[in-house]
């Protein structure tokens, strides 16, 4: 029973990994936006970046 469950689980894991790769999924953090106006191309400064204001590391050791 346990072996069958593991076999089923393994197939799901393999299938998920294959599906994620095929669909081009990613684990990186980002924000998806809709309907960004075409004017951004002419006026890039009008676009409000989601990740602005990031606290940068400025130290070193």
């Amino acid at each position: 029973m346990l072996r069958k469950l593991y076999l089923l689980y393994g197939i799901v894991v393999l299938g998920s990994a294959g599906f994620a790769q095929y669909r081009g999924m990613s684990l990186d953090k980002m924000t998806e936006l809709k309907n960004v106006p075409k004017s951004v191309r002419d006026n890039p400064g009008s676009y409000r970046a989601v990740y602005m204001g990031y606290h940068h590391y400025t130290g070193g050791k």
Partner: protein, 447 residues
């Protein structure tokens, strides 16, 4: 057979024989006919010679106050291994280990055509026991660290425990000269779900083979009311619910890992990894943010919906650059907004030279449909810095090894957990034996 046909002649149906106890006169029923050697009077607890027509009294014993009664009453009939048996005898026996007494029950079962078999019970763990048909071969332990083994019918049994077993209480009929207070050296060898037991009394050694049974199966076999006593702990020959699966699970794990590697190679070979954009830019010290943001040329992403890798390489030395990226579909307005930092620091101190960070960074944008895209880039860096040159590469459809690493871990974790569970079960089993597993705290105490 028609209604008028007389029954066919056959062996007469066995009938129980009724007698009276010579001590107290109470009725005694002999259920095993001529097979029993001794019978115990339930009223006065006299052990009688069943072979003697006058039922000679062999022993009288006192019953302790609160003596437990058998779970299966004498005379109960049930089906064991497809054969009808009747419970004709009951005894309670015990061993004492490290001043702790452990008691168990033994039931004698009888079928007039098949003979005797036995049922034992200890803390809710049951065994179906038969006398061995041939003599097992015992291999004594050559070193103290190696337990002795016994071979019976091609199966290897490991020595579990040897102890002096005392008979404390008897009831019903027995195919041997039973006595309360008699003792024998009992040795158990296990090969779950079986246990091979030897009992040595004087010069006589008898061997029996037991097979683990669950209480519910015993209750079902004898159609007993209520539910069986709950099993406590792990018994010596109790089959592990997981041990049998460990090898199979690891074999499956190996197969899955091989398939995973094959899958990874397949995607690595078939991925387009197409460089669709490449450009180098410079960040000049003192530029304002508004002036810094710009858009790239339009590039085309072809093929099915797939990922996009954006790689940034910069000549940062004890410096950093942060890039607000937006990958924008020119036609639909769909965009992916993300920020990436490239920083690299190095130096030298009392510990020696050190470095941290990297001069390049990669990010994978998920599930990007085909179309025409451009990047909006807004770089940030320290207010005062030497000129920083950075290169942006955009690749279509790249393999992501992290999925396969996660899949590997997802496959590994249950296999490890199952193995640990099996190990814990075996440790629990052998902790009650003459060969307990070494405990870490014990070894520390020894030192």
């Amino acid at each position: 057979m028609s209604a008028g046909t007389p029954p066919l002649p056959g062996p007469p149906k066995p009938q129980a024989k009724a007698l009276n106890c010579p001590n107290c006169g109470a009725a005694i029923t002999l259920r095993s006919f001529q097979q029993a050697v001794t019978v115990v009077c339930d009223s006065c607890h006299s052990i009688l010679d069943a072979k003697d027509p006058n039922l000679q009294i062999l022993q009288k014993f006192e019953v302790a106050v609160g003596e437990s009664r058998p779970f299966i009453p004498l005379g109960t009939r049930g089906k064991m291994r497809g054969v009808d048996y009747e419970v004709i005898g009951y005894q309670r026996r015990s061993i004492t280990v490290e001043e702790v007494r452990y008691s168990w029950q033994e039931y004698t079962l009888f079928n007039p055509f098949k003979g005797f078999r036995y049922l034992t019970e200890y803390q809710g763990h049951w065994n179906d026991v038969v006398v061995c048909k041939q003599l097992p071969v015992v291999n004594p332990n050559l070193t103290s660290s190696t337990p002795a083994t016994a071979v019976y019918l091609g199966e290897n049994y490991r020595h579990f425990q040897t102890a002096e077993a005392y008979t404390k209480f008897v009831l019903g009929e027995f195919p041997w000269q039973v006595r309360v207070g008699e003792h024998a050296t009992a040795t158990d060898y296990v090969c779950p779900p079986r246990v091979l037991s030897s009992e040595k009394a004087g010069n006589e050694v008898s061997w029996s083979l037991g097979e683990y049974m669950y209480g519910v199966d015993v209750w079902k076999a004898f159609n007993l009311p209520g539910s069986p006593p709950e099993a406590i702990g792990v018994y010596e020959n109790q089959p592990s619910p997981v041990s049998a699966n460990v090898k199979a699970v690891w074999a499956a794990f190996g197969t899955f890992v091989a398939l995973l590697v094959a899958l990874m190679v397949f995607f690595d070979v078939t991925a387009r990894k197409e460089l669709v954009f490449h450009s180098t830019y410079e960040v000049i010290s003192g530029e304002s943010k508004a002036e810094a943001s710009f858009v790239t040329d339009i590039f085309e992403l072809k093929g099915r919906t797939s990922n996009v890798e954006v790689t940034t390489s910069a000549n940062v030395r004890n410096n950093w650059i942060y890039l607000n990226y937006a990958l924008i579909n020119q036609d639909t307005g769909q965009a992916w907004d993300f920020g990436r930092e490239v920083s690299f620091y190095s130096g030298y101190d009392s510990d020696g030279s050190w470095s941290e960070g990297s001069d390049h960074d990669s990010v994978v944008v998920p599930s990007v449909p085909p179309g025409h895209y451009y990047l909006r880039i807004e770089p940030e860096t320290a207010p005062v810095h030497p000129p920083i040159y950075y290169t942006v590469d955009v690749k279509r459809d790249v393999p992501v090894s992290m999925f396969f690493l996660l899949a590997f871990l997802a496959l590994l974790v249950p296999a490890v957990l199952i193995s640990f569970r099996a190990l814990a079960f075996e440790r629990s089993r052998w902790s009650e034996s003459d060969h307990p597993p070494i405990k870490l705290s014990q070894t520390e105490d020894d030192n």
